[in-house]
Amino acid sequence: MYDITVIGAGITGTFIARELSKYQLKVLLIDKENDIANGTTKANSAIVHAGYDAKEGTLKAKLNVRGNELYDEICEELDVPFKRIGSLVLAFNDKDMETVHELYARGERNCVPQMEILDKESVLKLEKNLSEDIVGALHAKTAGIVGPWELAIALAENAVENGVELLLNSTVTDIQKIADGYSITAGDRKLESKIIINCAGLHSDDINNMLNTQSFEILPNRGEYNLFDKSVGNIVNSVVFRCPSEAGKGVLITPTVHGNLLLGPTSEYIDSKTSFETTLEGLNYINEHAHHTLKQISFQGVITSFTGIRAKTKNQDFIIEESEESLGFFNVAGIDSPGLTAAPAIAEYVVELIKGRLGDIELNQDFNPNRRPSIHFMDLSDDEKAKLIEKDPRFGRIICRCENITEGEIVDVINRKAGATTLDGVKRRARPGSGRCQGGFCAPRVMEILAREQDIDITEVVKDRLNSYILTGETK
């Protein structure tokens, strides 16, 4: 019998699991996919928002500002890329400027620190590539950018090192109430747990409905993105938004933590939770909008495009509560933007709720907040590089030519706790294939390494999901 089972290994699930590993509890983290962060966490804007967007009094407002505060420490502990680069909300006319003032006022009520309203000249001083048509902006210095899946993977790894069990490839198909908790069918396993935390993202309503008559509905909302080559990554230095309108926060322009440029997202309610396709209309829409904001941008620089699906709810706020019908069953649902930012605060909040159910829980005296840092070969000095290769020659073999990723780094991410088992899993952890050739050169080499390290046949190596096989057999 587990004390707590967390369903869903996205950013909220992994944050909660890691937070729970600070206590003496038997915790299980389950996901239906074959990797951490394979849902909404792997396809979003990767922004740590300042907190002026959410309506005061909502969970979103409260947890956004607190979550933002927690980011420096957590990313330091877990060796995850995070940069506090600030954000701008651009105004193009007087009406926009009114909105900027409203956002500033709301930010103040939400206790967002370090905000200022800038005039055109000050904005262009900060961002020389922006359109001359802007009239001013809200500048929030605490906004930042993060590697979302790196964070979730790091949290899972750290949670596992502190005693949490991880169970992947296990779709939860049934939950039943039993005497002192719940019985869960996950994949081909049956488990028992005193407490369930439902962090199933887009599928959190389905999980809830397995047990409860009181239901909520997840409304899938699609957002498409274009990701650009590093050669244009410095076109902006901060996260640049347009003024929000009825269509949402609009298309944003931001550098990523790795120095690429990200444009997007669109916003479109869709019928399906699995419609991860990009559309010609969507990708063109993003570029047209960026065109208005930037003086000039070459769309030749796009290296990939992708779609994320937001888990929205009707009332637009997070649902974080214990079910009235099923005590010990906690929903953590409707975590759309600013979910990534709020996630560390959501974890704190959920642990407090659980204490309300379990009473005081004993601390895990052995808890180690730190994760063994990753080696980023290219960031080392020449001397450090030379010493490292002497110790382990695999760091002298560059596998990914675009990002200069070594075999040593790839082997490391495969062999870590919660390590990579797929081609995309390696890419998300160590970045081979993230560059301008998108794996054209390195994919066969990474597959060889994956097969060797896991002692499987290369034909068993998949791209991402379980059935995403790459090779179909031998040649004649």
Binding site: V302, T459, R465
Partner: protein, 421 residues
């Protein structure tokens, strides 16, 4: 720190030919740096024949063609390092490289020859909408899997792009038992050699859809279907012309991009059209003593042209090392206009021309019965008749500098003129 007279970056056909030619021209202290596990470059995965018709007057496969140069290189005792990645080239000709046995390498060269080749454009670059399942590969990656690793990559295939690699992979996949449902080409003409259209598509009854592109990819885990549509003159898909193919693989052959990240690190000027360095008659880039040749300069359709161009780079790098290249002399700009997209070299210094310079160029469309007209400051100095020119086939013109008086000419242009005009 180690010193070499000439360091060649890249051990593919360009690098091999350049190194050999440098040696033949009297330079002994040469190093070839190759990032892959073997010499020969992409030729090693091109197991089809048709290589060497110009250079050897016989039809070789890619590995056979490469082998001749590799043998010659080894027989000459030219040094090479495999599995070695150059991280940086400075304009003072310092090279930083890394490999598992030497660790970090700092190499000072008197001259450098850049021969890094090119890479393939990807799905992202052309924004093909749809899902992102396994089974979408560039044709070159597929070629590596099939021809070198011995793995099949699909059973039912749609190919986008009718460049030579796309055409050759259509045939290769068919020979390996896969069904190629369609080769789709955005432009109204193929980007490949005519002989490949015939030998790779027509001989196997593989349909070619000109003026078509891929507008959707379906499938969550693996490709399940690909939809193509006809495009209008502005290359926009036309509603109602969609055709959906159930398949498990989409191969992309949508263009090659010279790999010039190192050239950029050395501050070398690049040409916007070719995406390669701007070079002079000696294949020297804007950085003195740094030469470039092969697909890193501009994408060639025949390896024989790469070899010829690279020999020129190797020979002139040797001259440079020996102090025999004239730098402070007249520069004549070579420009492609009116249908000629680009010309390589971009600059000619007549003082360094022994007799002729071979000008290589590509046209921007298919033209029939035309003349390629070379003018010096507006005056016609040479005309070459062509029955047929196409963007997929590189044109070469030998310009004999001893034959005409350049006078005060500072620009030579090449253009397409219709016969009778």
């Amino acid at each position: 720190m180690v010193h070499y007279d000439i360091v060649v970056i890249g051990g593919g056909p360009a690098g091999l030919a350049a190194a050999i030619e440098s040696r033949k021209n009297g330079v002994k202290n040469i190093l070839v740096i190759e990032r892959d596990r073997e010499l020969g470059g992409i030729l090693q995965q091109c197991i089809h024949n048709g290589f060497g018709l110009q250079i050897f007057k016989e039809e070789l496969t890619g590995p056979e063609y490469a082998e001749r140069f590799i043998k010659e290189l080894i027989n000459m005792g030219i040094e090479y390092k495999l599995d070695t990645m150059v991280l940086e080239v400075s304009d003072s000709k310092m090279i930083t490289a890394v490999n598992p046995t030497d660790g970090m390498l700092h190499i000072q060269a008197k001259a450098i020859i850049l021969a890094m080749g090119c890479r393939e454009r990807t799905r992202g670059a052309i924004r093909i909408p749809g899902t992102r399942p396994a089974g979408v590969l560039t044709a070159g990656t597929a070629q590596r899997f099939v021809n070198i690793e011995g793995h099949m990559i699909g059973k039912k295939v749609v190919i986008l792009g009718s460049g030579d690699i796309g055409l050759i992979m259509a045939r290769r996949m068919t020979l390996e038992g896969a069904e190629v449902l369609a080769v789709t080409e955005l432009m109204p003409y193929s980007g490949g050699l005519t002989r490949n259209i015939v030998q790779c598509l027509e001989d196997f009854d593989i349909p070619l859809y000109l003026s078509h592109t891929v507008i959707n990819v379906e499938g969550h885990d693996r490709v399940e279907a690909v939809t193509i549509a006809q495009v209008d003159e502005r290359l926009k898909p036309i509603k109602g012309t969609e055709k959906r193919f159930e398949c498990d693989t989409l191969l992309l052959s949508v263009g090659l991009i010279p790999e010039n990240e190192l050239s950029k690190s050395a501050g070398i000027k690049l040409d916007n059209v070719t995406s390669g360095p701007i070079v002079n008659e000696s294949m020297e880039t804007s950085a003195e003593g740094i030469f470039a040749c092969g697909n890193v300069v501009h994408v060639h359709d025949l390896v024989d042209w790469v070899t010829k161009e690279s020999k020129r780079a190797g020979k002139n790098a040797a001259k440079y090392v020996k102090g025999q290249l004239e730098n402070n002399c007249k520069n004549i700009k070579i420009k492609g206009i009116n249908g000629v997209r680009y010309v390589v070299p971009h600059i000619v210094r007549p003082d360094n021309v022994e007799q002729t310079v071979e000008l290589m160029m590509r046209v921007d469309n298919i033209y029939k019965n035309v003349k390629l007209v070379v003018k010096s400051n507006g005056e016609v100095i040479k005309e070459v008749k062509r029955k047929h020119v196409a963007p997929g086939e590189m044109e070469n013109i030998n310009l004999d500098f001893s034959k005409f008086n350049l006078g005060n000419s500072d620009e030579i242009s090449i253009e397409i003129v219709k016969e009778g005009e």
